[in-house]
Amino acid sequence: MTTLLIYAFTSIILFSIGLFGLVSHPNLIRKIVSLNIMGGGAFLFLISLAYHGRSPDIDPVPQAMVLTGIVVTISATAFALCLTRRIREKTGQCLLEHCPDKPET
């Protein structure tokens, strides 16, 4: 139980820090990193639940979920980074605030 709580707390903290980073940092790469931290938090929470189970083996369902989640997250990260780099190529900056509100040419 204590282990569960320790990791669960950690996961909550990670999630919050990730969220904080996502909304506070203007740079896109940092936002994506923050999202990954959020994801890490969520995964850690699931796994800590899996560990908590009474059965001798740990619960395989959250594990499978996390495995799936990791792949999903890396795909999303790769896609987001690709977009970021494309934006960076075209506009020369890596920020999303004050996006131009007019049509281009």
């Binding site: 282990t3 320790i6 990791y7 669960a8 707390f9 950690t10 909550i12 903290i13 990670l14 999630f15 919050s16 820090i17 990730g18 969220l19 904080f20 980073g21 506070s24 940092h25 203007p26 790469i29 990193v33 923050s34 990954n36 931290i37 890490g40 995964f43 850690l44 796994i47 800590s48 639940l49 899996a50 908590h52 189970g53 059965s55 083996d57 740990i58 395989p60 369902v61 959250p62 594990q63 499978a64 979920m65 996390v66 495995l67 799936t68 792949v71 890396i74 795909s75 990260t77 790769a78 896609f79 980074l81 690709c82 977009l83 780099r85 494309r86 960076r88 190529e89 020369g92 890596c94």
Partner: protein, 311 residues
């Protein structure tokens, strides 16, 4: 003892995460993120989840690191930005949120069961020995299939964003380095070996398609990083076919169940089928991940131009 270890891991995870968010230099942040990944896999190991540990080590620390570094390479001039204002306005609600969530966690029922017992009950029916693989490929095979779909769509999305028709177009190997090549020559067989082993292991012990695929993908990326042209030699049609193979294999398996007039995604009882799916999935995971990393715009002219204008 275990608790102290847990605490240390937890605290360091939190600390590293905080540093990642607050550190000024992007490069430093990414290095810290790789550390974070490693710490996480340590936590996974501690939580008796070796599969995830392997995947995390390969993905979180490895592939994500490479991706981020690659992206950062084009961003070198934008570091040292001032950190944003509104620290407190954001931090206080964040603290509240964390506090609330922490409070609710205390209510996790002490007799929490999960689905573990049920899985072990149903395990014999799957003809698989390792529960995680069983869940992944049998009980929740639909998820896995869709997850392969996510990978595929991510590749498609990257292609779309790049406005590139094939992966091959942007897959010129990095400038060859003699040292790198030498290392590759040593490491690559090892990687393939590890991947294969993990795949084989998946049927009855920690390991499986994901882990194998991720490891293979890391190998492939290294190969490319070292400037080895071997990947580029693959014809792009083959490349495509390999990429979708896992998804397609699943799809065929799933739809064939319709022919037998059975529930969707019910597969024949032979273990071979599942293994076949696993192999195809491994390959396509590897290829997709490699594509994701490689299809990202490498240092092409547009980048250089952008860099010039900035400096």
């Amino acid at each position: 003892m275990g608790l102290i270890f847990d605490l240390i891991i937890g605290l360091s995870l939190a600390g590293v995460a905080w540093r990642i968010v607050r550190v000024r230099e992007h490069f430093q942040a990414i290095v810290l993120f790789i550390t974070f990944g490693l710490l996480l896999s340590l936590a996974w190991t501690r939580l008796k989840s070796p599969d995830i540990a392997i995947a995390e080590a390969a993905v979180g620390a490895g592939l994500a690191g490479v991706l981020l570094m690659d992206a950062l390479g084009t961003l070198s001039s934008t570091r040292n930005q001032p950190l944003p204002g509104r620290f407190l306005q954001l931090f206080i609600p964040c603290l509240f949120l964390a506090g609330l969530m922490a409070y609710t966690i205390l209510f996790i029922p002490a007799d929490f069961q999960g689905l573990g017992p049920m899985v072990s009950e149903a395990l014999p029916d799957t003809h698989l020995e390792y529960p995680v693989t069983a869940v992944l490929l049998d009980f929740r095979g639909y998820d896995t299939w869709l997850e392969l779909g996510v990978l595929l769509v991510a590749v498609l999305g990257v292609l779309c964003v790049r406005q590139a028709g094939t992966i091959k177009g942007s897959m010129l190997p990095a400038p060859a380095e003699p040292v790198g090549r030498w290392i590759i020559k040593l490491l690559l067989p090892l990687m393939v070996l590890i991947g294969g082993y993990l795949l084989w292991l998946g049927a009855f012990a920690p390991g499986g398609a994901f882990q194998a695929g991720v490891v293979l993908a890391s190998g492939g990326v290294m190969l490319w990083q070292a400037g080895h042209p071997s990947l580029a030699l693959l014809h792009h049609v083959w490349w495509k076919i390999l990429m979708i193979s896992g998804f397609v294999f699943f799809l065929i398996l799933a739809s064939s169940s319709l022919l037998y007039n059975q529930q969707f995604m019910t597969h024949p009882e032979a273990k071979m089928w599942i293994l076949g799916v696993e192999y195809a999935a491994t390959l396509s995971i590897a290829i997709c991940l490699i594509s994701l990393v490689l299809a990202s715009p490498a240092r092409n002219q547009g980048d250089q131009r952008a860099r010039k204008t900035e400096s």
